[in-house]
């Protein structure tokens, strides 16, 4: 019996705008001026929020957080392609998209300074809170996608973000398998930023690409220049259209780079070279997109100056508001253990409040 070939698989790579600003006009997505500027503003805002938070963190005015500098296009591109009906299911390095989906800078600050009040976007915003355990949010997105299909919402899909490290988790593989079987309207976006804390992409998986992991699930997999906003937008847009049409999920590998530390508690000098980081700064997604806008004649130095001023004011207003906020209810965690009232919880709340009152009394006496 001759051996027959029964499958034929390949993975494509998409880039529309390269790091030198060269544009492939055939692949260029149709985006109006308003959309283009919205995307640019979102990237600049995210970069500035990131850098401001870094300073605040170093001054002890902000908790630990995961910087997003360098990865803005990989998140802003897909978020621009989404509508309000789509679900944003993220891990912890998607702040640029969260801010586009309605989260305020103040909420971001509250979240990263240790208050659940930062997670108070309503379910109607279809934007899930940050998920910290790596890859664990993937099945949630798949279940949401199933629900959209079940409820007959034909123009809604789940867009699920995770990192290169996330592809090693069982939840990634189980999630892709379920999504493919269910023909669920889901778009998986792997932000391959090359580093899972100190473990490089090369030690995360022997696979040539992460996109090819889709092939095992008979799912479309595609690798994209994750620092190219136009490519990220275009590929996500197509994946969403396929999802709405019932053509199944897509895995998008966004090749990007984490220019900063994993979190503010990490020192990347211990495990990677400065030369490597400098090489990736040359592929920064923001200057190349700015150049694109300038060449299109919709951006100039004056508009840049206005934008920078406006963003600076917005961030400083949020810093001020955040630092004046002191009315966090101490016993709020007792309010939200269950959706029903229970004696045991109320009794422990009483205990907690009595203890707190005692402490305050002592402090007052010592003052």
């Amino acid at each position: 019996m001759p051996i027959r070939q029964i499958g034929d698989f390949s993975i494509s790579y998409v880039q529309v705008l390269d790091e030198h600003g060269n544009l492939d006009e055939e692949l260029e997505p149709e985006l109006g001026e308003e959309q283009l500027i919205k995307a640019y503003r979102a990237m600049v805002l995210a970069r500035e929020v990131d850098q401001r938070m870094l300073k605040l963190q170093r001054q002890g005015r902000m908790g630990t957080f995961a910087p997003t500098t360098g990865q803005e296009a990989a998140v802003v591109g897909p978020t621009l392609a989404m509508t309000e009906k789509d679900w944003f299911v993220c891990s912890f390095r998607e702040t640029p998209g969260r801010l586009m989906r309605g989260e305020t800078i103040l909420q971001t600050f509250m979240y990263y300074n240790g208050y659940e009040e930062g997670n108070t976007l309503l379910p109607s915003a279809r934007t899930l809170p940050v998920s910290i355990p790596v890859g664990s949010q993937i099945p949630h997105g798949v279940g949401i996608a199933y629900a959209m299909k079940y409820l007959g919402e034909k123009d809604a899909a789940a867009v699920i973000f995770f990192g290169d490290g996330g592809t090693s988790q069982g939840d990634f593989h189980e999630g892709l398998n379920f999504a493919s079987l269910w023909r669920a309207p889901a778009v998986f976006i792997c932000q391959n930023n090359h580093w899972a804390i100190s473990v490089p992409r090369s030690k995360q998986s022997y696979s040539q690409t992460l996109a090819q992991k889709a092939i095992a699930y008979d799912m479309r997999g595609i690798q994209v220049d994750g620092n190219d906003l136009l490519a990220m937008y275009k590929v996500t847009r197509e994946a969403l259209d396929r999802a709405y049409a019932g053509e199944g999920p897509t895995l998008i590998e966004a090749v990007t780079y984490r220019l900063m530390m994993h979190t503010t508690a990490d020192d990347p000098k211990k495990y990677r070279s400065e030369e490597e980081v400098q090489e990736w700064w040359k592929r920064d997604p923001i200057p190349r997109f700015k150049l694109y806008l300038e060449r299109k004649g919709i951006w100039n130095d004056s508009r840049q100056g206005d934008l920078e001023d406006e963003i600076k004011k917005e961030i400083e207003a949020a810093v001020r508001e955040f630092e004046q906020k002191g009315d966090f209810k101490p016993d709020a965690p007792f309010d939200h253990v269950f959706g029903t009232e229970h004696e045991e919880i109320e009794e422990q709340r009483g205990d907690f409040l009595a203890n707190l009152a005692e402490l305050e009394k002592k402090e007052a006496a010592n003052a």
């Binding site: 099945p139 629900a147 959209m148 189980e174």
Partner: protein, 326 residues
């Protein structure tokens, strides 16, 4: 009222909730065409279709994780773990997400999600099919753990669980699935989650049990009452977490003596928690130390020896006698 067994009673609860609310969907291994390996979902696939009774791949973490997503998107999923022994893959989703969404978002989001799982021994099953690990689940804040003991309360508690706004771990004593029948009303019935039930009043001693332990405990209590002419108060816990400590405490305050019967190993257990609650509130009412009649702190033995390890009528009687005689 028809007399039905626990499997039929659970099926009735699922059927009625599905008929009433098309947001209720079932998912799990073999729950569809096969009707579940214990037949709890029998007939529902034919009645409601494959979109609502979903046969999933064998991946417990994704079954529970995707059910979390369904709940977040407005459905009321009822997931099945084929056996509690295979449910541990869901623990990270339970601890990391299902239990926390409400608190994490200060009540903006919730995860109304039931996962049913047969638990417990004495059915001559292979390894991993006989454990009683309710304390493990009960230790996660934000999680409700419910264990019925009869067909009627199984039906009413499952109905309440499906309507509950929080994640519920619904543990079904598989030993009791077909062991006996009980009259179960056709019309809807719910039992409030978080409340224990005083099954019989008494003055001389309190016995607390739940799930599959209720049957041998009832027999033991009847035997001791008959033999010694004492009156024993019997409490069926029904909800493990959040625990209805006050019902137990009030009873022990009256009787002064207490025996807890549990199928699970002794240390770090629900019985230990019951004793802590008694000590907190009514220590000085006690006439005797609270007795635990339990499995031992050993890995569940294979079924050749299992009956020697699970509390039986004889051990429960001895526990009650010792506590009365102290």
């Amino acid at each position: 009222m028809p007399k039905i067994n626990m499997v039929q009673a659970l099926n009735l609860a699922l059927d009625q909730e599905m008929a009433k609310d098309d947001r209720v969907v079932l998912l799990g291994e073999d729950v569809g065409l096969d009707g579940g390996v214990f037949r709890v979902t029998d007939g529902l696939f034919d009645k409601y279709g494959e979109e609502r009774v979903i046969d999933t791949p064998i991946a417990e973490s994704a079954i529970y994780g995707s059910a979390i997503g369904m709940a977040l998107a407005g459905l009321k999923p009822v997931a099945e773990m084929q056996f509690s022994g295979f449910s541990y893959y869901l623990l990270h989703q339970l601890e990391s997400h299902a239990s926390r969404f409400r608190s994490r978002t200060q009540g903006r989001w919730s995860v109304p999600l039931v996962v049913r799982m047969p638990y417990g021994g004495a059915v001559r099953a292979l390894e991993h099919h006989s454990e009683s690990r309710e304390a493990t689940f009960a230790h996660f804040p934000g999680v409700k753990v419910v264990i019925p003991s009869t067909p009627r309360n199984a039906r009413a508690l499952l109905t309440a669980s499906i309507r509950d706004p929080d994640p519920v771990i619904f543990m079904e004593p598989k030993r009791s699935y077909r062991a006996f029948r009980e009259e179960v009303p056709e019309e809807e019935e719910v039992v409030e989650i978080g409340k224990a039930k005083v099954v019989q009043d008494g003055n001389d001693l309190t016995v607390v049990a739940w799930g599959a332990m209720m049957r041998p405990t009832l027999k033991a209590v009847a035997a001791v009452q008959e033999k010694r002419g004492v009156s024993i108060e019997l409490i069926d816990l029904l909800t493990i977490a959040p625990m209805d400590g006050n019902t137990i405490v009030r009873s022990v305050e009256k009787t002064g003596r207490c025996v807890v019967v549990q199928e699970a190993p002794r240390s770090f257990s629900v019985a230990a928690e019951i004793i802590a609650k008694i000590n907190d509130k009514v220590l000085l009412s006690l006439e005797a130390p609270v007795k635990r009649v339990t499995h031992y702190d050993v890995v569940t033995p294979y079924f050749g020896r299992e009956l020697m390890y699970i509390p039986d009528v004889g051990r429960i009687i001895r526990g009650i006698d010792e506590t009365l005689d102290f």
